[in-house]
Amino acid sequence: MDVTLLWPWALAALSAVALGLALVGLLLPRRRRDRGLPVAHVDRLTGLAAFRRALLRYRLWIAGALLASIGGAVVAGAVAARPSGVHANQEDDYKRDILLCLDVSGSMVDVDAEILRVYQQLASELDGERIGMRIFDASSVMAFPLTSDYDYIAAQLGRYERALTGTLGPDEQFNYLAGTANGLGASLVGDGLASCVLDFADLEASERPRSVILATDNVVNGQQIFTLPQAGQLAVDHEVRVYAINPFDWGGDMASQELRDVAEGTGGAYFPLDFAQTVPQIVDRVSAIEAGYIETPPRIQVVDRPGALPLAVLVVVGLVCAIAARARL
């Protein structure tokens, strides 16, 4: 870390002032007459060899105090000259928000579980990102809102993963499907995506990049309020990128094609889950794509780095005071 002086003139000025004051004090003739009780035969004391030695000691103390004062002034000048360095700062605003949007219709359970497992691992390495989770079938339910409490995230992801794979422990039983069957039909993907997009709480205020990991086969069965393209438009309006993972892409079927169009229309991507790609690989690629959005140049700041100099000034001032007290200057 290289340190430069922002105001080098301050150092020069203070040093010059300190030296000047010392010189004036030394050279200016002493005008004041000493005051005190008049005593006769001072030679009783001043004639002693011990007195001359003590006087020499006294002068050495004064010289020491003077040197320490000048040194302190120079160090204080160095502080006043603002020694500073360059600091690169990655702002928190550019940390992203990720919402896991999982279709929990019967066909998707295995894929969901795997996504949860992957994000569970990811959660332990994140810093600043927020993760939320919503599950949907006929209706959608928020599993947990966007949060950066990674312990909580990992606990919730683990809990849902175990629920999806049916390995919940005896004292943590819950029905993960509760509340997902209130609509007409099943697997209402448009409604699910729309509610996921609106989950980004501070849609207007936040600058953070937003993305939705949408796991669905897009096999809609029932009446939905939002169609998938409408939900996609909602995502575009709110600058949310949708990354769709489809485990049942048969190649060119209508549902898969629609999902691909919507996902890519939001600036996101579409990943068919086939032999070529596993869930971890897909998550890696999503992270890689998102990294492109996050990568903003770090903010360059010039910050003062006085280091131990103020402490040194304090020590020197204390030293001068100690000498002054010792020698009753």
Partner: protein, 295 residues
């Protein structure tokens, strides 16, 4: 009118027992050589009176020892030699002004002399001045004398030079008299020795040292001290130095011892007066020493 002298007398009666004052009287009476044999009256014996003056017949009649008093055949002259330099304006060991102490000493001795019908003269001097007052036997004369001392001694006055004053006294005082030198804690120099010796050859000499102030700071003494000769202050830092204090104590002890020893080897009685409280006692000791030294 008699402000100075009244203060001296007040001090005498405050600090000295009545008995001490009588003793002082007795001591003074006996310090002179050669008395007349014209009988005056009888009075009660006081310690210090000459035993040969006891009137044994009268004592046998009255059951108390009585001594004969004689009319002084001639008046003695007491010359007060005072250092009027600025050293005398400095602070004494007790914190009082040395000038006040010197005036007290001069006043007590002068008063005793006048009460005994003697005449008192004054010689003051320093490096630049010589002031003298002719002898006189009245209290008003003594009062004027004390005022002259008070007026002459000042901090911005000339430097002290007692040797020159003593030399002057040697030349000027022809008539045999009792000379009281009021000095301070000065160093005993060769010149001093010579002049004192010459003075003592002709006169009876008494030496009074007014004790000078301690120069070291002891017991949280935060006062500033300034030397009167130089006008230069003594840094408090030095005055608190323990090693220096030991050296100073040893040095002033030696200095006082040399002065005392030097004066004693000439056969001159001396005393050191350090405060007005102890002044009367000190002067009593001085007179006693003088009486003993003569025998």
């Amino acid at each position: 009118m008699e402000r100075r002298l009244r203060k001296v007398r007040t001090t005498m009666s405050i600090h000295a027992h009545r008995r001490t004052l009588e003793l002082l009287d007795g001591e003074y009476a006996s310090i002179h050589h050669g008395r007349s044999h014209d009988f005056d009256d009888l009075r009660e014996y006081q310690p210090g009176d000459e035993v040969k003056d006891i009137d044994w017949k009268a004592t046998a009649r009255s059951h108390v020892p009585l001594v004969k008093r004689y009319i002084a055949s001639r008046q003695h002259t007491v010359l007060l030699v005072v250092d009027s330099g600025r050293n005398m304006a400095a602070t004494a060991e007790s914190g009082e002004s040395k000038r006040e102490l010197a005036i007290l000493v001069a006043g007590v001795l002068g008063y005793l002399a006048i009460r005994h019908g003697d005449r008192v003269a004054l010689l003051m001097g320093d490096a630049e001045r010589r002031e003298d007052m002719p002898e006189g036997g009245s209290e008003a004369h003594l009062e004027r004398m004390l005022r002259r001392i008070d007026a002459a001694v000042a901090l911005d006055g000339p430097h002290s030079h007692l040797e020159a004053v003593l030399e002057h006294a040697v030349r000027r005082m022809r008539r045999r008299s009792l000379i009281v030198v009021i000095a301070d804690d000065l160093a005993y120099t060769h010149d001093l020795d010579v002049h004192l010796g010459r003075l003592h050859a002709r006169h009876e000499v008494l030496w009074v040292s007014i004790g000078d102030a301690d120069l070291m700071a002891r017991a949280r003494d935060e006062r500033q001290l300034v030397g009167v000769d130089t006008g230069i202050g003594l840094p408090a830092f030095l005055r608190r130095d323990r090693g220096l204090r030991r050296a100073f104590d040893a040095a002033i002890a030696e200095r006082r011892a040399r002065l005392e020893e030097g004066v004693r080897s000439l056969g001159i009685a001396s005393v050191r007066v350090s405060s007005s409280e102890t002044a009367i006692g000190s002067l009593f000791r001085l007179l006693e020493r003088h009486r003993r030294a003569r025998r």
